[in-house]
């Protein structure tokens, strides 16, 4: 027994020494050097969850964007350096198309694709070589949108405007549910030649250019869709039968990167597309503090990194831990994931700042608020009560807890960067305790007490709280609202449950609601309060209904950004603030901590995965700094072994004493 003990102890120590040699959790890169001898650069990134599909016409979730966007370019792309306001620029198209009004009320956009853009090399093409992107690929994309089999969530919106989509869909339904791509065309897309096509809309819709910056309208290679059908084929070595991936899991793109490895649920690996030349690094427009980093890169070919390794991290804490060790290049709180809360980094402590890490904050194009249920008998019918609650809530404390004070309090529904946003507007029902007390008395509940029972009025607050930090935040909200005298009962829910309550209208006051803009247009915010958008079909969580608001909405929805439109927007904002179906909270702040070797070069919140091609990485600096951040002290091992030996020794001595 005892010799065995010693042997195991030695073996354990040995194993420890051997395996503990490094604590690097990342994969080895594909290469060490580029063909020209310079070091191969890798960018280490994260994604908050497993993705469900990479089919551009089907997928509509933030998470998948991170993988799809680097792989697939879009017709138009938001300009990297322009954020006040956001603007789209050309990407696959030569320039941003202008609308041409036709005599019959329809609108035509003449579009020209850049010549010479190639798809990635893939076995679906003859010879394995990617071919050029042509206009009929755009037509194919719109056909797919109208295909019932694809179940595209974009179909209902786009078919309202693009001529021919609804007809193609109906024809497909009549023919058994599948679209025939050779016979059933979308008449709104007219292919003129290999690089030119016309887009025809049934009525004016200036926001269509934002749709062209989304991946659902991106050209798709028909060969890819038909090749990757998810059925068994003789693809394996020596003709063995293997099941081919479905197109949703094997996209064929034309972007700056190519997806080469995907371990389901765990990680992705992207590699540079050698033949990419659709876009280059911007030649100007960056803020002065980024001059030193951006100037040398002006006009440089893209992508700047050679390889991107993206790991799935469902929780944020491990990301921060790895970041501190230097194994991740970038750390940010993800768009619209209300569950992901960055509380560990209020301000970069001197220890991390001394290492060269930089913290940059910017504001997401989003607004967060609590929603009242306008159909609830208590809060829905009592405007002064809602206003009172709005006045007793101070978002500033919440912002301090959550963002270290870095996020702005939302005074209005629109976010900064949206046309119509008024930086000087102050919410008349913002935090004001005196006003709150006055209003709640006017609402019929002096001091927050129900005059019939003498006890405080009870309000139920629902929210998502699956982690300790979220619970702390909800407790804060509870105490804040109780300042006007009411009693708040907090109900914690999982994300799924909260969604269910939203859909069913099963709440009084719901927190965690908000909206992140799909595109920078006020219509994308005001539609949240349009009375035809009640859940579960729409997103009008408060079930707000106001005839004047509806009329104004219908008027401004498809206007260009003229002064008249701005006037209408102002009026709508005033109506909303007065009716108070929501308690405005904040515009979400985005914390980005970046390593010294991978500095942030932009603050564009509408470009997520797309901005990866612009990201510079310095592998030499990383190789130098990482080991110094991960030193391994030896003293714990020595002391542990010593303690073990001491105990064993005592046992042996005891044994000798007893056996004598």
């Amino acid at each position: 027994m005892l010799p065995l003990c010693r042997a195991t102890a030695l073996a354990a120590a040995g194993l420890l020494l051997f395996a503990g040699c490094n604590n690097n959790p990342q994969q080895k890169p594909l290469h060490e050097k580029r063909p020209d001898g310079s070091p191969w650069t890798v960018y280490y990134w994260t994604i908050p969850d497993e993705i469900r599909s990479l089919d551009p016409q089907f997928m509509y979730e933030e998470v998948s964007n991170r993988i799809l966007e680097p792989i697939q370019d879009t017709l138009l792309e938001y300009e990297l350096m322009e954020t006040k306001p956001y603007r789209v620029g050309p990407c696959l198209l030569e320039k941003v198309p202008q609308p041409v009004q036709n005599s019959d009320g329809t609108v035509t956009y003449h579009c020209a694709l850049k010549p010479g853009v190639l798809y990635h090399d893939d076995p679906c093409f003859p010879g394995g070589e990617g071919r050029e992107v042509v206009a009929s690929d755009v037509e194919y994309a719109f056909q797919r949108l109208s295909d019932p089999v694809v179940q595209s969530p974009f179909f209902s919106n786009l078919s309202d405007y693009v001529i021919g989509m609804q007809e193609a869909y109906d024809a497909a339904k009549k023919a058994g549910g599948k679209l025939n791509y050779d016979t059933m065309k979308v008449s709104g897309i007219e292919v003129l030649d290999a690089h030119h096509f016309d887009l025809k809309l049934s009525k004016p819709y200036p926001q269509i250019i934002y749709w062209m910056a989304l991946h659902c309208t991106t050209p798709v290679a028909r060969e890819g869709v038909e090749f990757y059908d998810g059925l068994p084929h003789a693809d394996g070595p020596k003709g063995r039968i293997k099941v081919r991936d479905k197109f949703a899991f094997h996209p064929v793109g034309n972007g700056a990167f190519q997806l080469v490895e995907w371990v389901r649920g765990q990680r992705f690996r992207l590699v540079r597309n050698e033949r990419y030349h659709t876009k280059v690094f911007p030649t100007g427009g960056w803020p002065p503090e980024r001059e030193a980093v951006c100037r040398p890169l002006a006009g440089h070919a893209l992508p700047l990194a050679d390889e991107v390794q993206i790991t799935v991290f469902r929780e944020f804490l491990p990301q921060w831990l790895l970041m501190r060790q230097g194994y991740l290049d970038n750390f940010d709180a993800y768009k619209d994931s209300v569950n992901s809360i960055v509380t560990s980094i209020k301000a970069l402590s001197p220890k991390w700042a001394a290492r060269g890490m930089k913290l940059s904050t910017s504001t997401w194009v989003s607004t967060f608020y609590m929603s009242f249920n306008m159909q609830d008998p208590l809060v829905g019918g009592n405007r002064k009560l809602r206003q009172a609650i709005s006045c007793s809530y101070d978002p500033r404390g919440f912002i301090d807890l959550l963002y270290g004070g870095a996020a702005p309090v939302a005074e209005q529904l629109l976010s900064p960067g949206i046309p119509g946003y008024d930086p000087n507007f102050k919410n008349p029902y913002g935090f004001n305790l005196e006003k709150a007390r006055r209003l709640i008395a006017e609402a019929g509940y002096p001091d927050g007490r129900d005059p019939n029972t003498g006890r405080p009025l009870e309000i139920t607050l629902d929210g998502v709280a699956t982690g300790a930090e979220e619970r702390q935040l909800m407790e804060y909200m509870q105490r804040q609202i109780e300042q006007c005298g009411v009693k708040v009962n907090v109900i914690e829910n999982t994300f799924a449950r909260s969604d269910e309550k939203q859909d069913q209208g099963n709440f009084q006051l719901l927190t965690g609601t908000g909206w992140g803009a799909d595109y920078p247009d006020p219509e994308n915010y005001f539609f949240l309060f349009y009375s035809k958008n009640f859940p579960p079909a729409g997103k009008n969580v408060s079930r707000y209904k106001n005839a004047e608001f509806d009329a104004l909405f219908e008027k401004m929805a498809t206007m260009e950004n003229t002064p008249e439109r701005m006037k209408i927007i102002k009026r709508m904002n005033d109506i909303l603030v007065e009716d108070a179906p929501i308690v405005l909270e904040f515009n979400k702040a985005n914390f980005m901590v970046s390593q010294p070797w991978a500095p942030r070069i932009h603050s564009n919140m509408l470009l997520d995965g797309r901005a990866i091609k612009y990201q510079p990485v310095d592998p030499v600096m990383r190789a130098r700094l990482q080991p110094s951040w991960n030193r391994q002290p030896m003293w714990p091992i020595y002391s542990a072994v010593a303690a073990l030996a001491a105990i064993l020794g005592y046992g042996i001595v005891l044994n000798r004493k007893r056996n004598v």
Binding site: L15, L16, A19, P25, Q27, R264, R314, A496, E500, Y650
Partner: protein, 330 residues
């Protein structure tokens, strides 16, 4: 023995039925299929898309018994064409189905997830067992001394700390301050990938060590108190030999049944450790399934667990009968 096995075989489907019924009742109260559909399909899903999604999975049928008149647009014929019975039929043929949330084949998901879980629990189990036996023997060896009391106290102390504290501490101190092991992550590519598992395995051993050592020590002490040990001592057998040969062997009989019963359930991994260290095992799968209300995964996991548990029970009973002829399996 034979009749016992037959009875067990007949008994098992009843248990499974009970387990699945309980699970279904719980989860049908928890969430309606429509909400699940909407969560999966995303913000812009139209009611038509939702309906299609439900239909392809058979979730638009009534939950338990189709007794009422058929509502227009509702699918299904016959009283037993309901979600419950359809799923039971599928599970009975071990067709685990597809995940509600990700759409992946569950058979494949389980196969992939079982490996990391086993890589975590199996070494922890075996090494933990060996270490616990070793420590227990050592404590019996130094019994009635100060070291023994200290040892027992240490064991009880180890048991009294919540497992998360070990994990938080382990990660903070060993992975982050000492930088010996990766703080997070998992990969199974080559031998050097073992570094991802050393810390979690060590933590799992520590978590269970206290209670195991106490239990084994009690068993061995009972053996030491037996008459044959005193005879052996009188005959001049050395302490060490006594321990290793006699006490260990006889004590094992009592232990082995306890140990073996837990083996089938090892495949589930550990919820806490996997979650903390990001090991993509079945424990992690279950946690995320509960959070996302992925009913398909929960159903399949419950089903498998029930079967494994019953296998474990059966093996234990058989081993008891084999080891101790006095017990009859009637």
């Amino acid at each position: 023995m034979f009749s016992y096995l037959i009875r067990r075989l007949l008994y098992t489907p009843l248990i499974i039925f009970g387990v699945m019924l309980l699970t279904f009742v719980l989860f049908s109260v928890l969430q309606k299929p429509e909400t699940m559909a909407r969560t999966v399909l995303g913000k812009r899903a139209t009611p038509k898309t939702v309906q299609d999604w439900l239909h392809t999975r058979g979730y638009d049928k009534p939950t338990f018994l189709a007794t009422g008149p058929k509502k227009p647009g509702q699918a299904g014929e016959g009283m037993f064409d309901t979600i419950f019975f359809n799923e039971m039929r599928k599970l009975a043929t071990f067709n685990l189905g597809v995940s509600d949330v990700t759409g992946r084949e569950l058979k494949e998901v389980f196969q992939q997830g079982a490996i990391p879980s086993l890589l975590l629990t199996l070494p922890a189990y075996v090494a933990g067992f060996l270490m616990a036996v070793g420590f227990a023997l050592f404590l019996v060896f130094v019994r009635k001394s100060a070291l023994d009391t200290a040892g027992v106290f240490a064991c009880v102390g180890l048991m009294s700390v919540p497992p998360m504290v070990y994990i938080i501490f382990g990660q903070a101190v060993i992975a982050l301050s000492f930088n010996y092991f990766p703080a997070f992550g998992y990969e199974m590519r080559s031998w050097s990938s073992i570094r991802f598992l050393l810390l979690p395995v060590a933590l799992m051993i520590v978590i269970n060590l206290g209670s195991e050592v106490r239990l084994y020590r009690a068993v061995f002490l009972e053996e030491i108190g037996q008459d044959y040990v005193r005879t052996a001592q009188a005959k001049g057998v050395s302490s060490v030999r006594l321990l290793l040969v006699h006490v260990l062997k006889n004590g094992m009989i009592a232990l082995i049944t306890y140990v073996v019963a837990q083996l089938p359930l090892l495949i589930l991994g550990s919820l806490l450790v996997e979650n903390f260290f990001g090991i993509p095992g079945l424990g992690n799968l279950l946690t995320s399934a509960i959070q996302t209300n992925d009913f398909a995964v929960i159903r399949a996991t419950t089903f498998l667990t029930a079967i494994l548990y019953i296998i474990g029970l059966t093996i234990t009973d058989i081993l008891y009968a084999v080891a101790d002829p006095r017990i009859r399996l009637s």
